[in-house]
Amino acid sequence: MKLTLLVWRQAGPGAPGKMVPYAVDDVSPDMSFLEVLDVINERLIARGEEPIVFDSDCREGICGMCGLVVNGVAHGPEHATTVCQLHMRHFRDGETITVEPWRARAFPPHKDLMVDRSALDRIIAAGGYVSVNVGGAPEANSLPVAREVAEAAMDSAACIGCGACVAACKNASAVLFVGAKIRHLALLPQGEPERARRAAAMVAQMDAEGFGNCSNEGECEAVCPKEIRMLNIAKLRSEYARALWRGGK
C-alpha cells in the first residue's frame, strides 16, 4: 500500500508544532499502525533525522501506553481497538492519514506524539488503591464475592488508563477513567472501608489536574478500546454524592 502520514511534530513543550507529511509506499496491509511509524522512523534515523516520538509498550492492547488520534479519532477507526492493534488493512491504498497526539489541558505535550499523562497516575495515587497492612495474607475464603459482582468489577477494571476518553471528549474530561476506577473498587469488599474517602479524593484530584466537566457527550465510551461504559460515570456521581453525604469518610 502507498500511504501518506500527516504527523504532528513538536520539538518540545514550548516549541511550536506542525503537521509534517511522510510518504511510505511499501506498507503491508498486515502491519500495525505503530509498525508503519517504526518503518518511517528507521528511514528517518538512516537519513540522520530525529525519529517521531510516540509512546507504546506491549503492542497487544493491554498496557495503555499507546495513544494517537488517527484521522481525528482517538485510537483510530476500529471499534474497541487500541492503535497498536490497528492494522493497515483498515485503510485505503493511497490514503492520507492524519496522526496527532492526545490533546487536553491536563496532558501537556512532551514531544511529537507523546504527551504527559501523569495526571492519571496522580488521580490513582489520590485513592485508586486498597490499603493493606504488611504481614501474612488474609484467608481468601473469608471474603466471598458473588460472581455477578466480580464480573461487574472486572468490567470496570478492564480500563487500561490510556486516556483516549479524555482525548475524545470536547471538555477533556476524565470521568470515564475515574469512574471506572471508583466503580471497580466500590463494588468489592476489599474497597469498602475506604470507599467514601476514595471517591472524594479521586474526584478532587481530577478537578485539580484541570480535566473538564462531563456534559454526557458519550464520546469517551465510543472510543474506549476496552469498552468501558458510561454507567461508570453514573457510578462516579453516585459514589461522589454518597461521599459528600458522609463528609468524605
Binding site: A11, P29, E42, A46, T81, H87, R89, G135
Partner: protein, 258 residues
Amino acid sequence: MYERITGEDPYRVPMRIYPAIHYTMGGLWVDYDLMSTIPGLFVLGEANFSDHGANRLGASALMQGLADGYFIAPTTLAGYLAGTPLPKVDVEAGEFNEAEQAVTARIERLLAVNGRRTARSFHRELGRLLWDKVGMARNEAGLREALGRVPALREEFWQNVSVPGRATDINQALEYAGRVADYLEFAELLARDALERRESCGGHFREEYQTPENEARRDDERFAHVAAWEYTGDGREPIRHVEPLTFEYVQPSQRSYK
C-alpha cells in the same frame, strides 16, 4: 484477538500457528528472602530465577508475581527494613557520582559513534541469530556459532550504530540503542548457558539429548541444578555457580503430551 491481528476469521480459515519462544525462563539470582546479591535490592516475580526453573510460561509467571508479592515480600522486606540501618544518602555520595558518570559516559559513547546502521537493524540481526541458533531446539554447533557471532556483532554495534538526537531531551532512539547494547551482552550469556547445559530440560531442547521418541531427555545425574552466572566485569568471563535441586516429595519425571 486472532482475527484482529491476522484479518482472518478462524471459524472459516484454519488458524496459522507455529511454535515460538515467549520466555527466556531465567532471571536474577535471589536468596530465600528474594534479595539479590545487592543488599536491599529485592527481585520479585518473573524477574527472579526462582520457582519455575526451565519451564515458565505466562500463567505461572503471573502466579509467581502474585505469590512473591502477596506471601513473601511483605514478610521479608519488612524484616530487612526493620533490621537494617538506613542512613540518609544524597546525590553527593561517592557511589552516586560514580554511577552517574558511568551512565553519562555510556550515553555519550552511544551518541558519538555516529555510524551507519540503526539500533533496530542490530536488534533484528541479533534476534534472528538467537532464533536460529539459541532457539527452542538448539545444538552444540549452533550454540558455538552464536557464541562466535554475538561478540562480532557487538563490536560492529559500537563501531557503526547511528543514534540521532541529543541526550538532553526525550530520545527514544537513544533509549532503544541502550537496550540493544544490553541485549548484545546478555545474548552471549544466554548462549553460553545453553551450551553448558548438556541435556534437554523444560522449554530448552538440546537436539543431541532426546529420547528415541524425540522427547526431551534430561540428565539429572549431572544437571539437576540451577546455574547462576556471576558477572565479573566487562569483557571478562562470567563464573558459573551451581545450586543443586533436591526433590523431597515430587520427583521429576518425563513430560508427555501424548
